[in-house]
């Protein structure tokens, strides 16, 4: 492995190091933070800002604990207490754990997979800035003097326009931004894990950490898209008067709960599964032994990822859902214990008899096991319907999920921080301070949260700003408050440790722990391009492998050799087959620039402008955002030229293509991700549509006649027909028939425009609006989204047509994949249109 550890010895096949470094060096100066697309600084940004939010949320928790220390306390007013628990919960859930994990993943995943960056570096940058803007919008409510008091779960009608104001609108939009950041990172993570691994890294050799991240990525996309759709609906209720959740106009508050928990439950596992990835990375290294029952642990992770989507109703056991439905969710919730059980026993078996050194990472792991097992067991308890009827929404629940989230997620995060710190800044954290921090945190945590089980059982509901002394809970509450301060002290010790050690910490070598995965094979801190030569991988534990000569495979070796300081003038990475890890292609990553961060900023300002009724500002900014997104997605012609120039030699050396289509190219995966996200969003909307119908006495609601079939039929017919010229253009493109390509693309554009015109001509003649009732809201929202998507598809076609005419030299290179993704998106729209027609126009007649 020594060949991969920072500048390799000049071999005859290696490229020019200086040129290579220049390509991978990020931008300089203060503005580099806005222009960078490197996983390192972006990951750092995610982590830094999320920790700031964490400290704020922790402070709020302490204030709440002071208020609850004694009964009938008046330290905080009810208003302030409700604001604090809302912001504490939503900050921790939306702005701390997930972004923190995303940051850490962004930094660690590429070196572990043996690649140079994440799959969509521009998206990383956009995600980080949208997350930060979302967080600032969350906290904007403090400046507005209207902090939301709706809880992190925001149940309507309490969170609806009747009971809340501008602060909640900001909160919802901030949440929307954080979700968009999440979805994009999720897609990026999935594609990175599946496709841009080191050559030879088959699924069998992929580190467990990457497995957990892969599952997490899929979950993020599914869960956050659902929440994004739901928050969009609630935000529309606030801003334009739709009625999705207003019970007085046909809306259903319970619909929100279904959508929210379809996100909310997986969310817990989205945090927990990467945490198990940390544990599964650290335990084998300290045990100096590969993880026992590796295959079973992978199964457990996948099982957990899937099952977590089948549990949402267990947050709704007291809402009057049929018992039959609820019982299924009890069964599913119980099964998740098996997924946890497999992992816990695998860790114990791995540690068995190895007498691991009790260094700080290992201490946090031990603390994790203690707390998590307890929290997991109480989790099984609350899945039991009758018992949940008692403890639901009590402090028992508060105790349970803090055991799971602090013990199960934060402790592994801290273990990871102590373990991987050398990779982040090249220095070790202080062991002494780490041990103090661990014991203070561990003891403080249990003192703070164990009594809460009792409080709940003895009848203390959640989210109360005070409680009468007659409940006899003063003692427990006082103990909990003392524990909370101890816990806070413990965390602060680690924060101090990080700050002090960043300057004075002991310098770490490449591999201070004797790790088994690829990141330990390269220098600490991680170099910008990660690997000067992308390493060949023949083992699940590449850094432990001593003799791998007998397994060498020529294809893998050749691909690896071709990447030694190369490509020199553009950011290139290897793409592999999902299943067997054999190299497939060399792909360019984007060049980077200000466009993503500027787009994020403009979207933020635009949405704030819209909320504050500064419509002109909003319109200008949304236009600027659109322009910068186009700039971001537009192929960089000079960069493409460099790629075209060096590609033939590289293809010769590596035996791999550079300009590819289909699953061997990154844009293809991007569009597949987008299509999946949009499909999911429409599935959520269709579900909501039928849910409202199920609980409405009449459908359509409020005497609205069933929709006309003819006019919309013409509109959606036009959309479906527009797939034909697209198909024609694609065929002609393959054959190189210039005018037919143009004709096909223009035909598509015209039919798309005709669809939008016909649709709005029909909508304009309707008697009801989106304000009439929930049916009207649903009806219009689906049409609006559909026409918006067609607009996006038309922009893609326009861009393609422009490049086809103006950059003919690229027709053989990057343009085929551009043509492919444009066509895929358009076919998808045609099919989606048929589905929309079926659901919105035909189904009311059934």
């Amino acid at each position: 492995m020594s060949s991969t550890a920072a500048p390799p010895e000049p071999a005859d096949y290696a490229g020019d190091l200086e040129e290579f470094n220049k390509t991978w060096a990020g931008p300089k100066g203060f503005f580099k933070w806005f222009a960078t697309i490197d996983n390192g600084p972006i990951g750092f940004g995610f982590m830094f800002f999320s920790v700031v939010f964490f400290l704020l949320a922790g402070l709020m928790a302490l204030l709440m604990r002071v208020q609850l220390a004694v009964s009938e306390n008046t330290f905080l007013s009810p208003e302030v207490y409700n604001q604090l628990f809302t912001m504490h919960g939503s900050t921790m859930m939306y702005l701390f754990i997930v972004p923190f994990l995303e940051g850490l993943i962004m930094i660690l995943l590429p070196p572990m997979l043996g690649t140079r960056d994440m799959a969509f570096p521009n998206t990383s940058s956009f995600g980080m800035w949208t997350f930060l803007s979302g967080g600032l919008m969350f906290y904007m409510s403090f400046a507005l003097g209207d902090v939301p008091t709706i809880g992190w779960f925001a149940y309507p009608p309490l969170s609806g326009p009747e009971y809340t104001g501008l602060g909640t609108s900001f909160w919802l939009l901030g949440l929307g931004m954080a979700e968009i950041a999440g979805i994009l990172s999720g897609l990026e993570i999935v594609v990175s894990c599946l496709k841009i691994r080191a050559p030879g890294m088959s699924l069998a050799r992929m580190p467990l950490f990457a497995w957990t991240i892969l599952v997490t990525g899929v979950m993020i996309v599914a869960a956050f898209t659902t929440l994004l759709t739901a928050t969009m609906m609630l935000e529309l209720d606030h801003e334009i008067g739709t009625q999705f959740f207003d019970p007085n106009h046909g809306g259903k508050p319970l619909l929100w709960q279904h959508l929210f928990w379809f996100f909310g439950h997986p969310e817990v596992y989205i945090m927990f599964i990467p945490a198990t990835g940390f544990i599964s990375s650290i335990v084998p290294v300290f045990a100096k032994r590969p993880l026992v029952a590796h295959t079973y642990v992978i199964i457990a992770i996948v099982l957990m990822g899937f099952l977590s989507f089948g549990l949402w109703v267990h947050h709704m056991f007291a809402t009057g859902i049929p018992w039959l439905s609820m019982s299924f969710f009890t069964a599913a919730s119980l099964m998740i214990a098996i997924a946890s059980g497999i992992q816990v026993f695998a860790w114990i078996a791995t540690l068995w008899g190895t007498r691991p050194a009790m260094k700080t990472p290992m201490l946090w792991v031990m603390g994790f096991l203690f707390i998590f097992v307890l929290g997991g067991l109480t989790g099984v308890m609350v899945a039991i319907v009758p018992f949940d009827w008692q403890v639901h929404d009590t402090f028992f629940l508060v105790a349970h999920f803090h055991y799971v989230l602090i013990g199960g997620v934060l402790f592994p995060c801290l273990a990871a921080l102590y373990y991987w710190m050398p990779k982040l800044n090249g220095r070790m954290l202080s062991e002494r301070m780490g041990k103090w921090s661990f014991w203070t945190t561990f003891i403080g945590f249990n003192v703070a949260f164990f009594p809460m089980h009792m409080m709940g059982l003895l009848g203390m509901p959640r989210r109360v700003y005070t409680y009468p002394s007659s409940l006899g809970l003063d003692g427990y509450n006082m103990v909990a408050t003392v524990g909370a301060f101890l816990l806070a002290l413990g965390f602060l010790l680690t924060v101090a440790n990080v700050i002090v050690s960043a300057r004075k910490g002991e310098r770490a070598g490449a591999d201070p722990w004797g790790g088994d995965t690829l990141e330990w094979a390269i220098s600490s801190p991680l170099p910008g391009p990660m690997f000067y030569q992308i390493p060949p991988v023949y083992s699940r534990h590449p850094s432990w492998e001593t003799d791998e000569s007998k397994r060498q495979d020529e294809r893998i070796e050749r691909a690896s050799r071709a990447t030694a300081n190369k490509p020199e003038t553009w950011r290139g990475i290897l793409m592999v087959d999902v299943l067997n890890g054999l190299p497939q292609s060399i792909q360019p990553l984007s060049k980077g620039g200000y466009a993503p961060s500027f787009a994020a900023l403009m979207i933020t300002v635009a949405s704030m402008g819209a909320l504050l009724k500064l419509y002109l500002v909003g319109a200008i900014c949304i236009l600027l955002a659109l322009v910068s997104i186009i700039v971001w997605l537009w192929p960089h012609e000079a960069y493409l030229k460099k790629i075209r120039e060096s590609a033939p030699a590289l293809e010769e050396e590596s035996g791999l293509p550079v300009f590819t289509t289909g699953e061997k190219s990154i844009p293809w995966w991007g569009i597949v991700g987008q299509i999946s996200t949009v499909s999911l969003m429409f599935s959520v909307l269709f579900y909501s549509y039928f849910y409202l119908r199920l609980y409405s006495p009449t459908w359509p609601q409020g005497g609205i006649p069933r929709p006309d079939l003819l006019m919309p039929g013409v509109a959606y017919g036009l959309l479906a027909a527009s797939a034909l010229p697209q198909l024609w253009a694609r065929r002609a493109f393959k054959r190189g028939e210039e005018w037919q390509v143009s004709g096909g693309l223009i035909g598509t554009l015209l039919l798309g425009a005709a669809f939008i015109w016909a649709l709005y001509a029909y909508l304009g003649g309707l008697e009801f609006t989106h304000r009439t009732n929930a049916y009207g809201s649903m009806f219009y929202l689906i049409q609006w989204l559909m026409s918006g998507l067609v607009g996006v598809g038309m922009l893609l076609n326009l861009g393609l047509h422009y490049r086809y005419r103006r950059v003919p030299e690229d027709r053989e290179h990057f343009m085929p994949v551009q043509m492919q993704v444009t066509a895929m998106f358009w076919y998808f729209l045609a099919v989606l249109g048929i589905a929309v027609y079926g659901v919105v126009f035909l189904s009311p007649y059934v």
Binding site: K252, I348, L377
Partner: protein, 344 residues
């Protein structure tokens, strides 16, 4: 399980069990669980006063016992695994590793979870609303108080539910504004009250008494102070209570000045007093206010002094509640309190 344990593991378990002081842990735990005096447990799920609550409490104790055992087992294995000095032969993972994981991570949980699922389903089915019901009560959640209606008896009250002992009472749960949740821990679990949606639920009390309940779904500013009492009466006493509520008695003349104040100070816009012109439905029905246990939805005891304070400025007692301050002269306030507390 013990037969399959490797000898080294058996030795280790034995050593831990023989260690002095280990038994103090469960003993301390039990003390912690049952701490506090019985009199304080007015809202405890562990002090059931009905068959339904007792069934759930039993489920808790079973799970508590079983899971304590599981937890201790896992912790013992973990500590043995990490700290045991490997004795020559036993350096590998136990039972070859994979077998250990299958046994501990799949087989053991399956057995426990299967039992638990069956216990859960049995208990759920057993908590079904019994066939014979004598009484239906409609409870409507408001921000932040409880409207209680007896549709068959034509009685309306607030923040207090009178029920006869020994029979199941069917509850029809609704909400007038946001989501609330009905919960009397000593009598049964909880059930949400959702606007635009009706839930049915039931409670029963074995013995006469007052059982405190509280809103369990966050419902805004004063969610913390939205309590109520279920008052279980022996069947005869309950019949008497119903009869008394059903015979309207005009207020004796001595209280008429108070009634005057009530009508003129704006109270009638929000409150109802049966048999008078006051038919407001925003706030609680005050017809029989005098006989209630508490004021402000379980917040303060119902005494003339507290009532005067509440009318004068309820915002000091329950900030943010929807009742505005009143500015009555002392003698008007006095008359009003006397009128409201009078038996009607």
């Amino acid at each position: 399980m013990t037969e399959t344990m490797p000898p080294s593991l058996k030795r280790g378990v034995g050593r831990i069990l023989r260690a002095r002081g280990v038994w103090a842990v469960p003993a301390l735990g039990a003390a912690f669980l049952l701490g506090g005096c019985e009199g304080d447990r007015i809202q405890s799920t562990l002090h059931p006063a009905s068959e339904a609550a007792a069934k759930i409490a039993w489920l808790w104790w079973v799970m508590c016992g079983a899971f304590t055992a599981v937890f201790l087992l896992v912790m013992v294995l973990l500590l043995l695994g990490v700290y045991r000095r490997p004795s020559g032969e036993g350096t590998g993972p136990p039972l070859g590793g994979t077998r250990f994981v299958i046994l501990g991570g799949i087989a053991m949980p399956t057995v426990i979870l299967l039992g638990l699922l069956i216990a859960s389903l049995e208990t759920t089915v057993a908590l079904r609303l019994p066939e014979k019901q004598t009484l239906t009560v409609e409870v409507i959640g408001h921000r932040w108080w409880w409207e209680v209606r007896y549709p068959d008896q034509n009685i309306v009250t607030a923040n207090e539910i009178q029920i006869p002992t020994g029979v199941p009472v069917r509850l029809v749960l609704k909400s007038a504004d946001v989501i609330h949740s009905f919960w009397v821990p000593r009598l049964n679990g909880k059930m949400d009250m959702i606007p635009g949606h009706t839930n049915t639920f039931w409670i029963a009390a074995e013995k006469p008494g007052e059982y405190r309940g509280q809103c369990a779904e966050y419902c805004g500013l004063q969610h913390a102070k939205m309590a109520f009492y279920v008052v279980a009466l022996p069947p005869e006493a309950f019949r008497a209570w119903v009869a008394e509520r059903q015979t309207p008695r005009p207020a004796p003349e001595a209280f008429l000045p108070g009634q005057e104040v009530f009508m003129q100070a704006g109270c009638k816009n929000c409150h109802t007093v049966r048999g008078t012109a006051a038919v407001g439905r925003v706030g609680p029905d005050l017809t029989h206010l005098g006989s209630r246990i508490s004021l402000g939805a379980g917040e303060i005891p119902n005494t003339p002094g507290h009532l005067g304070g509440w009318i004068g400025n309820s915002q000091r007692i329950k900030p943010g509640n929807l009742m505005p301050r009143s500015f009555l002269a002392p003698e008007e306030l006095h008359a009003l309190v006397r009128y409201l507390e009078a038996p009607k």
